[in-house]
Point group: C2
Chain length 338, copies 2
DNA sequence: GCCTGGCACTCGCTGCGGGCGAGTGCCAGC
DNA sequence: GCTGGCACTCGCCCGCAGCGAGTGCCAGGC
């Protein structure tokens, strides 16, 4: 186990390195932090920290920089979550309050997060699986052509065309619409399949085919749209990455364009509480020099989606975590209100 | 007026520079192109071209690189549009044919364009103003709460909640729905306001308020949603920009995040035919070292939106223009079919 | 036993100077 | 008007030396 002071040294190294982007040496450390010991002592501590794998030297006879493992320890044990300042809180409020619809909420959230953290922001749209149904509508566009519209409690709308096996009368349509809604409104998407399972049976045989078609279309929509969308922003912040970044930035931009990768990334985050993945902890190769800070957000007590930021492993973890948490809470509130 | 050969020299310079990314000298030129004259002659021609502002030297005693003006001349007079190879055409077809809905079409188009041109692709969603109405639906969610759903011929769906001043009966609702649709289906969005102007008058006085509310909501949707959306992709290609790109890439990423900027950019492109804006011809500061190749596309004879790519001024114009044009045509076809 | 000052050593960074070579401009000749 | 020749420019590369931040180790002191 590392002594108290050695942890303190690690904390100081992380803080200084994050601030200056340059390897930090023993002398500079004792000058900038009141450790109460001499550089020589710090050097000994550093040697131990290096042996344990928490810090490393880029070259012999250069200062030390934290390793992924060092950041991990820092995040787990040494750093708290830094609450936002009240001007920042007010800024969030002002920025978010003009949002008019779900797209707008998500778009504003992305911009806000990117600005607050000065990093790349990723916001997942509220997932359908965990949402509940507000309304299901069926429109008759042509005698044998229907349109299915699904409205969620988070304000999202999905639509889909249906070609019916046989013409479907207005009354049957109204009937189906009414029964469908009475069963599923207010229920979770995940529960819908069971709830509608026996619906076709209660219809006349001539309509049964169409009803089945409609239902399977509805279920398909549920499945398909469960693959979730997301929005990213603040990619320009990648240019603050470091000096050598042609090589660094490229794989990151590529990863960011792969929605699948990002969704997986957010998906890996635990449901509750904040998740921080540092450097190689990220499964994706291109993100091995980045850290991901993610947290779930939701309109009620449960998370319906996640948001977070992607930045260099050398990032201000307490500040970033504070911003991510604050934004998630606020977005949750907004969704709950609407 | 420049002689035939001098134009030929300019063309050779552009081609070589685009290929090698390095200033091109007189000797290399005569070796790689059969100009039939000696390097000395080419030097004289280069001196003239430089005096006229078509090429420039980064440093004294280095090769020449084309200026914006040089590229402009190249694009206008010297370069054709290079048609795609048939494998490329087939690739487009394969790639686009699996698209299931409008979002998917746009998403695939972006990826395709980015891959073909190896540049940043920008695709605007089909604009509502020029689209026509396929269907308007009104749903009653609660006694005094309606939902308006608007479906376009390009497959786009917009929805909006309406709080009514007074409860609105099912029959009145059906009536309004029918009359509304009979007036606007198949018409252009731009024409809708006139077409529905006198609708409230034909209703009972007790319903008139609600009808007006619904209509104004409809008109609002039209106006609001006319502000168009777009999708971008291939930003990772920015890393191929050049050697010095921290400074180059940053303003470009920033500009790309400003949807307004991009929309303006595409908006400036002429409606028909391809538009190429080179370097400082772009109004936006951050894009002064990029060129934009844009073209309109549409489901019928008229353009409903635009798409294009953003890349370094040093780009393969004939190839890029060919790819952009081919993709635009193909997307147009797909939209027309659906 | 732990901390400290001292000391020799490492090694990346910077600046300097010279040689190289691609490229140019000019000029005289065809 | 084209060409070969020639002197010149100047950016780039390379090697070298000096500097200095930083290290590891050691002997001595609390």
């Amino acid at each position: 186990m590392l002594s108290e002071r050695r942890l303190e040294v690690l904390r100081a190294i992380v803080q200084d390195y994050v601030g200056t982007e340059e390897p930090v040496g023993s002398k500079a450390l004792t000058e900038r932090h009141k450790l109460g010991v001499s550089p020589a002592t710090v050097r000994n501590d550093m040697a131990v920290l290096e042996e344990e794998g928490f810090i490393a030297q880029p070259h012999t006879s250069a200062g030390r920089i934290p390793t992924d493992k060092g950041y991990r320890l820092f995040v787990d044990k040494l750093a708290g979550v830094k609450p936002l300042s009240s001007p920042e809180r007010r800024a969030i409020q002002n920025f978010m309050d003009g949002a008019v619809d779900l797209d707008d909420v998500v778009a504003r959230t992305v911009r806000l997060l990117a600005q607050l953290t000065r990093q790349v922001a990723v916001v997942q749209y509220p997932s359908l699986t965990r949402s509940t149904v507000r309304h299901v509508e069926l429109l008759s566009l042509a005698p044998a052509r229907l349109m299915l519209v699904l409205i969620t409690d988070t304000g999202r709308v999905e639509q889909r065309m249906i070609d019916c096996p046989a013409p479907f009368g207005e009354t049957s349509l109204a009937d189906l619409r009414a029964r469908l809604n009475s069963r599923v409104v207010g229920r979770r998407f995940a529960d819908v399949p069971q709830l509608v399972q026996d619906l076709p049976e209660s219809f006349e045989s001539e309509d049964r085919g169409t009803v089945s078609t409609v239902l399977s279309s509805l279920l398909e929509t549920l499945v398909e749209e469960t693959e979730e969308r997301l929005m990213i922003g603040g990619t320009a912040n990648l240019t603050r990455f470091g000096h050598d970044f042609p090589l660094t930035i490229r794989p990151v931009l590529e990863a960011l364009e792969e929605q699948v990768v990002l969704l997986k990334l957010l998906g890996e985050a635990t449901d509750s509480g904040m998740t921080v993945r540092i450097g190689h902890e990220n499964a994706h190769e291109g993100l091995s020099s980045t850290s991901v800070v993610a947290v779930g957000y939701g309109s009620g007590d449960e998370a319906v989606a996640k948001l977070g930021v992607v930045g260099p492993t050398r990032m201000d973890y307490p500040g970033t975590m504070g911003a991510v948490r604050a934004v998630a809470r606020y977005v949750g509130q907004i969704l709950a209100e609407s």
